[in-house]
């Protein structure tokens, strides 16, 4: 079951674009209804590209700009960039402290990220960020973890729900019928990324229209609605 619209939501992406393409419809809907959505991009997004020779720092800068534009389209209240190394997401330090600090500071009722149990997800960052989120939630809610956070005034905080996108076994559906076009606008803002094996920035108008239609169809149900699917993990 989908959680009720929270006052505050924290969406964790390994890279720019991740959250927008997986949950951008629901987050646009919640944002429009008054939820304060914070997007945290944990890595510097500097590695995943099919283009050879592009300096990594340039990619980081470009992708942060794309993400800010997409966040504006979707209505997120805030975007934070942790700039940890792309391709190395795991639950070790400093990853866990970074996410625990975010959770204690933002105090979200719902945290969103990738389902770590989705089979045959080859990108390790997408597998690992789900377990990192779970581990960091434990550290955020229990005062004995990272005592320096408590000393800095960050009280323990327990979210109600970890809402997993790209789920192995979905059990929640969000109706995004009125938000899917806005979501696709946001996704296609990520011009330095590949979507469905196509580098967005290299597509002409026909290519963009075709990609948009492919993505649109993935959201459609038999009864004319558009949905995003999740696994709700109640805490």
């Amino acid at each position: 079951m989908l959680p009720e619209r929270p006052e505050r939501a924290l969406a964790l992406g390994a890279h720019t674009k991740d959250v927008d393409i997986e949950a951008g419809g629901l987050l646009a809907r919640w944002s429009g209804e008054g939820t304060r959505v914070t997007l945290a991009v944990l890595t510097d997004s500097s590695r995943g590209t099919s283009r050879v020779g592009q300096p990594r720092q340039e990619l980081t800068r470009l992708r942060a700009e794309e993400q800010r534009r997409a966040a504006e389209i979707l209505g997120y209240r805030e975007v934070r960039f942790a700039d940890l190394p792309d391709g190395e997401v795991c639950s070790a330090e400093p990853w866990r402290r970074t996410v625990a600090t975010l959770i204690r500071g933002i105090r979200p009722q719902v945290v969103l990220t990738y389902d770590p149990w989705r089979p045959y997800e080859l990108i390790g960052d997408h597998r690992n960020i789900g377990l990192l989120a779970a581990d960091a939630i434990v550290a955020a809610r229990d005062p004995m973890f990272f005592p320096e956070l408590l000393a800095a005034g960050l009280e323990p905080w327990r979210p109600d729900c970890l809402l997993l996108f790209a789920p192995a076994e979905p059990d929640a559906e969000a109706d995004v019928t009125d938000f899917v076009e806005r979501k696709l606008d946001a996704v296609l803002t990520h011009r330095s990324h590949s979507v469905k094996r196509r580098l967005v920035g290299e597509l002409d108008a026909d290519g963009l229209a075709e990609l948009r239609e492919l993505l649109r169809r993935e959201h459609q149900t038999g009864d004319g609605r558009a949905v995003e699917r999740f696994r709700a993990w109640w805490l």
Binding site: S46, R47, G48, T49, V52, G53, R56, D86, G87, E88, P119, Y120, L122, I123, G124, R197
Partner: protein, 242 residues
């Protein structure tokens, strides 16, 4: 793209001597029979693979010789070992880096390894090998990973990944013409026969016969409902590579 006269290159990545033979020996033999250049890479030397307490270095030497003999039975051109400690393979950045370098050096079109998504997989080496190999596939194709390797090696993207003992079977390799080669390769691992004998059916029976029967039964079960008699079940991931 491969040049018309260039041979297909196939790389099997197994945690221990005998893992590849048991799980994809038939597929490797089929590739070799079709003219592919088959390489078998072992992460560990199998030095702890015994029910008796033995000296690991001695056992390892014996097992690597067995692996080479098994490779010959399958038609593989190369069998080599990275000499990680048996039982202690860790899915860490160092192993990913090492496997990334081998992928870039050997430039395989097809890679076969343990499916790390399989649940209730008790052996840590099998899980760690599968994860490290999948992560290395993602790294090898991208110049932003381990750029120090690019002084001598180029990025490389295989076209296919075959995961054995899979969580979800989506492909069965026809090994009907290669079952005997597979059995022969498995039986080259003579140091393991005593351990297999303990599980022989009937108890006290000839362990080699028991192994032969087991391999045949598994291959027949994998091919059930197919148009061929013997198979090996895998999860096939198609990549955009060469």
């Amino acid at each position: 793209m491969r040049a018309p006269d260039e041979r297909l290159r196939v790389l099997g990545v197994g945690a221990h001597p005998d893992d590849l033979e048991f799980r994809v020996g038939g597929a490797l033999a089929a590739y070799a029979a079709e003219g592919a250049e088959v390489t078998m890479m072992l992460i560990t030397d199998g030095g702890r693979g015994s029910w008796d307490v033995v000296r690991p270095a001695e056992l390892a030497g014996r097992r690597l010789a067995e692996a080479e003999a098994a490779g010959r039975a399958l038609g593989a051109e190369r069998v080599f070992c990275l000499h990680h400690r048996d039982g202690s393979v860790v899915d860490a950045p160092a192993l990913r880096q090492e496997l990334c370098a081998w992928l870039r050096a050997l430039r395989p079109n097809v890679v076969l390894t343990h499916d790390p998504w399989r649940r209730y997989n008790v052996h840590p080496d099998h899980r760690a090998t599968g994860w490290a190999c999948c992560d290395a596939m993602v790294a090898a194709r991208n110049a932003n990973y381990f750029p120090e390797q690019l002084e001598r090696l180029a990025p490389w993207r295989p076209r296919e990944l075959l995961l054995f003992m899979p969580l979800e079977v989506n492909h069965v390799v026809d090994i009907s013409s290669h079952l005997e080669a597979k059995v022969a390769a498995v039986l080259r691992h003579e140091s393991q026969l005593a351990g297999w004998a303990a599980r022989a059916e009937p108890p006290g029976g000839d362990p080699a016969d028991s192994v032969r029967r087991r391999v045949r039964q598994q291959a027949a079960a994998a091919a059930e409902g197919r148009s061929f008699s013997y198979g090996e079940a895998v999860h096939r991931v198609t990549l955009r590579g060469e």
